[in-house]
Amino acid sequence: MIEVKNLHKGFGDVKVLKGITTSFHPGKTSLIIGQSGSGKTVFLKTLIGLHQPEEGTISFDGRVNTEFTIEGKRQWRQEIGMVFQGSALFDSQTVEENVMFPLKMFTKQPLSEMLDRVNFVLQRVNLDNSNKKLPGELSGGMQKRVAIARAIVMNPKYLFCDEPNSGLDPETAIVIDNLIQEITDEYKITTVINTHDMNSVMEIGEKILFLKNGTKAWEGSNKEIFKTDNESVVKFVYSSNLFKKVREAYLNEIN
């Protein structure tokens, strides 16, 4: 479980995160939503240690990230998988080399074992027969799947995804969403996703955190988001007529 307490982060005079307190649970897909500039990416990057918090704590199964020893931090890093918005695959390496990279870096497994593991995770993300291709030869959806494979190859306890659906067609976006949810459920990973995609919110948002101006404006599940009367959430999530109608239909159904 990831527990965040009173998290503050700023850059110079600009305060981006203003006292966020929340928690993310294993085996559940948690989504962070909010307008552009609400602090989602900074929040995610602070969670994974790319930014240092100014105030507050983040604990990973009881281990506070600011109190890690060097060895503890190394161990924690290996428990994290991250899927970046643009996939962040290494251009000069093939799919196989990209996925194998963390194994080569952090394990002493023989090559055959590493290859078995790489093939296993590539099959898990439904990406067979692309081992020798370079990232530039793959479609956006395939790149995302390679990024997910690289993120899970070390059996992470925590999976973070920054806008995993950005730039993907709706059909591929759903495939990626379902894949992340299946992996989360299967391996009991604590998954945190930063998204703008309302389909993801409705489909896989077991927990949703709504940020507004660097503060937590609302928290709940994808069921609760239909019923909420929080003005900011309603304005943000149901900004399109389609989602307004979906909400009305849902509310009519449960009433």
Binding site: G49, R77, G86
Partner: protein, 246 residues
């Protein structure tokens, strides 16, 4: 950010670069790749330019000697000194700063803006050490050989120019090359090369690693890195010459 801040940040970067690689095998693979990218792929341009510049230096020297009292062997002597002292180590390093420097900045800068460096950091990899150290080792070990080759081809180019133009004889030229040969000058040139190679690897890496923005920012950083590497090579050249030859 002012110059002092940049200098401070550059040295903080170097502190991270010069750490023990996390995985020897991966470092060795990266080193071989960098030797190929930064060294072997620069062989052609250095050989081509050295040969022709050597020829031009010899021709210019021959054309500017009017007096019959000045021996023709002076052409070989002057060409040798020009090539060993300045052309090969300094001029070739400036060419490499342009070719290799822009490559280093754009490749690391692209990794930065496409979050590949963030991906390394999240995995717990010292990204500076992983990306920059192989480049530093590759340039520092390989460039002395490249510059030595440049020297030899420059001197050969001078000889060919003389033979083809008939402005001086090959015998006079070789006599000039053998006159007052000081091994210390080769040492001086190699020492300069090591310093310049270090600058060629680290200054563009600094510009690429700390780039902010998108593709235009990477392009601007590449230009900046070439300009600053060239300026630093020229300044270092002045101080090394002052310290070692005066």
């Amino acid at each position: 950010m002012n110059y002092i801040e940049h200098i401070g940040k550059y040295f903080i970067m170097l502190k991270q670069v010069f750490k023990k690689p996390q995985k020897g095998r991966i470092f060795y693979e990266s080193l071989l790749k960098e030797i190929e990218e930064l060294g072997l792929k620069s062989l052609g341009i250095i050989m081509f330019i050295s040969f022709f510049i050597g020829g031009v230096i010899a021709l210019q020297t021959a054309l500017n000697i009017d007096s019959a009292f000045i021996p023709k062997s002076l052409i070989g002597f002057a060409t040798k000194r020009s090539i060993i002292l300045e052309f090969a180590p300094t001029f070739c390093s400036i060419i490499l700063a342009g070719k290799v420097g822009s490559y280093i900045t754009s490749s690391i800068g692209t990794m930065r803006v496409t979050e590949q460096i963030d991906a390394l950091d999240v995995m717990g990899i010292n990204s500076l050490n992983h990306l920059v150290l192989p480049k530093v080792i590759a340039t520092v070990f390989f460039y002395p050989f490249l510059i030595l080759l440049g020297m030899m081809l420059g001197l050969f180019g001078g000889w060919i120019a003389g033979v083809l133009s008939d402005l001086f004889s090959g015998v006079d030229y070789i006599e000039g090359l053998q006159t007052e040969f000081k091994p210390f000058l080769i040492f001086y040139a190699m020492l300069k090369t090591l310093v310049f190679a270090f600058l060629i690897a680290t200054v563009p890496s600094y510009h690429g690693y700390y780039v902010k923005g998108g593709s235009i920012a990477v392009g601007k950083a590449s230009t900046q890195s070439v300009v600053w590497t060239t300026i630093l090579i020229v300044i270092a050249n002045y101080f090394l010459t002052q310290m070692m030859l005066t």
